[in-house]
């Protein structure tokens, strides 16, 4: 294991979905859910992937895990381009990459008690066979703060926070290196959300995990991420360290997004200048020419329609795709 090499390198990742054909006219253009996403992720760190609904952040997560096969691009995981591997050869990599979803109650089989759910994950990958297994399961439950007598329970008997702990537990059971957290704390109440966020951070320290933390909630992302990538309409528009993105965001979309997040402090909240964007997200089947944000951008100029802005280097690790920065 080479620690200096990034665990994950994504290059030009694209996922296009065919639009349904209608009876008349030419075939509609495909929906470009993800359209040229590139980044690298160091072992043991957390990338926050933020953006609004429909920007392609979840699809990016699925395409990295090969849950959706990308239309184009490379996904290099620990030195191997897994996007080019046939399904059979992917198996060993699946163990090393796991995912946690928003609604874990829906992602847990309702007919299986918690203990069996975790055993199933071990079975599939042939881990901890024999006498040690019971002890391993207790150890895993303990790791996520679930009392071992809950192993007999069914998912519907768990609270939202407990179900999320089980989903995390099952992901950890196969000893992964990368975990994609897809809105993993978004459905939880604040008091429970804080418990799960702290748990994810503790586990990362203890086990050296690498996270891709997909979320629309920038407050949580600021809390948990080392690097942040802001997505808009299938592209990463800005990427930087946590500190840079929250203190010196350069792309007009990142700035608007940050200014729109309410802050729970009456004086601070009332003194803020908010950038209010006009209009709605354009359709990803027919994105605007040039810069995709130009239809809502408060600082748009004529040149924005002509040219797709390249990622501009602003500081080490800080890039923004905008002609105005």
């Amino acid at each position: 294991m080479d620690l200096a090499k990034p665990l994950l390198t994504v290059e030009g990742l694209a996922v296009h979905f065919a639009s349904p054909r209608t009876a008349f006219g030419p075939a509609p253009s495909p929906i470009r859910a993800v359209d040229g996403v590139s980044f690298t992720l160091a072992r043991g760190s957390t990338l926050g992937l933020v953006g609004e609904s429909g920007c392609g952040k979840s699809t990016t997560g699925y395409a990295i895990l090969q849950l959706i096969r990308p239309t184009a691009g490379r996904v290099v995981f620990d030195g191997t381009d897994i996007a080019a591997l046939p399904a059979k050869k992917l198996r060993p990599f699946r163990r090393r990459m796991q995912i946690i979803f928003q609604d874990s109650a829906a992602s847990l089989n309702p007919r299986m008690p918690v203990g069996d759910l975790i055993t199933e994950a071990l079975d599939i990958h042939g881990l901890h066979r024999g006498a040690g297994r019971g002890r391993r399961i207790r150890q895993l439950l303990d790791l996520v703060g679930i009392a071992s007598h809950l192993a007999e329970r069914f998912p519907h008997e768990l609270s939202g926070g407990q179900a999320q702990r089980i989903a995390i537990c099952r992901a950890l059971a196969v000893e992964p290196e990368l975990i994609v957290c897809d809105e993993a704390v978004s459905a939880l109440d604040l008091s429970i959300q804080a418990q799960i966020v702290n748990l994810l951070q503790e586990l990362q320290r203890e086990l050296g995990l690498t996270y891709i933390f997909i979320s629309h909630d920038l407050s949580v992302v600021r809390h948990i991420s080392d690097e942040v990538a802001v997505m808009y309409l299938g592209r990463i528009v800005e990427t930087a360290s946590r500190q840079r993105i929250f203190d010196a965001a350069a792309h007009p979309y990142s700035r608007a997004l940050l200014s729109a997040v309410p802050i729970p402090d009456p004086d601070v909240e009332r003194a803020r200048e908010r950038i209010i964007l006009s209009g709605d997200l354009p359709s990803p089947a027919n994105p605007p020419s040039g810069c995709r944000f130009r239809t809502r951008c408060p600082v748009v100029i004529e040149a924005c329609a002509a040219k797709d802005p390249p990622a501009k280097f602003l500081a080490p690790g800080h890039f923004a795709a905008c002609l105005r920065v």
């Binding site: 609004e52 609904s53 609270s159 926070g161 109440d189 604040l190 008091s191 429970i192 959300q193 804080a194 418990q195 966020v197 702290n198 951070q201 629309h216 920038l218 407050s219 949580v220 600021r222 809390h223 946590r242 500190q243 929250f246 608007a256 997004l257 940050l258 200014s259 729109a260 997040v261 309410p262 802050i263 729970p264 402090d265 009456p266 004086d267 601070v268 909240e269 009332r270 908010r274 209010i276 964007l277 006009s278 709605d280 997200l281």
Partner: protein, 328 residues
């Protein structure tokens, strides 16, 4: 005179397993034009409080009781269905989280707007149509006249919520209840909608009850805040008092576990444990099992409402003054 007075509101639901006390003795008043926040987590009784005021809770299985439930001199608890229908829409209007479920999918936007106008205001069809166009323009829908013939599915989520706001404000209600009205929207769209509701209601002098789990939203919008936990208001006061000098263990816990986009974190301080089962009515403070500031007296008596400077009240025995410094 207060616009709305709620005293001792209790809403319970009988189920096979027992009686769920969703709202358990809620009291507050609202002045004309005032903006009140109702915060708390899922199941704390925020929405049921609003629905009980609107008398939109189905009885049975629910049972709504109160010492007083007064809106502009009308006793909402004893009013006949006809009076209630008059008040809903023209006196109190409500917008919900999911506009797709509040709008009728098979009627045009124009029809749904004029329907409300004709029902509540003495107005003929043509005038109603003109007023509907005005209203859509007021909430920032482009090409308003053309969109009168559009159906809800043809709009985006933000646009649908604008239509809901137009309908809600169409008959100049004195009170607007927004129940998680922007929760399902993206933050940039939320900012648009919040700004819209804030300016419109300010100009029209409409009082607003913002129901939200988002402390940031409430901090920016409200004059006063009610913090709810397990069906009760545990703390109430002016927004700055509640955020800077919280006096209930739950409120300070809630603030401590909320991440902020403008600060890099000290680790979040989660509130341990789970909210109580609403079927078990404890004789003590409902937050006691999760409270980290409890004092011995908390295990013996239920806290009375204590008063703090500036019209600020909390149902808590502990003294939290020493912890206020960490909040600024």
């Amino acid at each position: 005179m207060a616009l709305l007075t709620v005293r001792g509101l209790t809403t319970s639901f009988s189920t096979d397993q027992g009686i769920i006390r969703a709202v358990n003795g809620v009291s507050f008043t609202l002045e004309p034009g005032e903006v009140l926040g109702l915060v708390g987590e899922s199941g704390s009784g925020k929405s049921v409080t609003a629905l009980s005021i609107m008398r939109l809770v189905r009885e049975p299985p629910a049972k709504v009781q109160a010492e007083l439930l007064d809106f502009e001199g009308t006793d909402l608890l004893r009013a006949d269905p006809r009076t209630l229908r008059d008040i809903r829409g023209s006196g109190i209007a409500m917008i919900f989280q999911d506009p797709m479920r509040s709008l009728n999918p098979v009627l045009t936007i124009g029809r749904q707007l004029t329907e409300t106008l004709v029902r509540h205001i003495n107005i003929d069809g043509n005038a109603a149509r003109r007023r509907a166009i005005e209203l859509l323009e007021m909430v920032g829908i482009p090409m308003a006249e053309k969109h009168l013939g559009s159906y809800p599915h043809q709009f985006s989520g933000g646009m649908r919520q604008r239509v809901m706001i137009a309908i809600a404000l169409s008959c100049n209600p004195r009170l607007l209840i927004a129940d998680e009205a922007t929760t399902a929207l993206d933050v940039t769209i939320q900012a648009q909608i919040v700004e819209l509701v804030r300016t419109l209601t300010k100009n029209l002098g409409t009082a607003v009850i913002w129901i939200s789990h988002d402390l940031g939203l409430v901090a920016g919008l409200c004059d006063r805040v009610n913090v709810m936990y397990a069906g009760r208001i545990v703390e109430t006061g002016p927004v700055r008092e509640v955020f800077y000098r919280p006096s209930h263990g739950y409120t300070i816990g809630l603030i401590g576990c909320t991440p902020r986009v403008d600060r890099v974190g000290t680790p979040l301080k989660p509130i341990n444990g789970l909210p109580p089962n609403l079927m078990d009515d404890t004789p003590l403070c409902p937050f006691l099992p999760r409270c980290d500031v409890a004092i011995p007296a908390c295990h013996r008596v239920r806290p009375e409402l204590r008063s703090f400077p500036g019209g600020h009240f909390a149902n808590c025995l502990a003294d939290l003054t020493s912890r206020h410094a960490e909040l600024r």
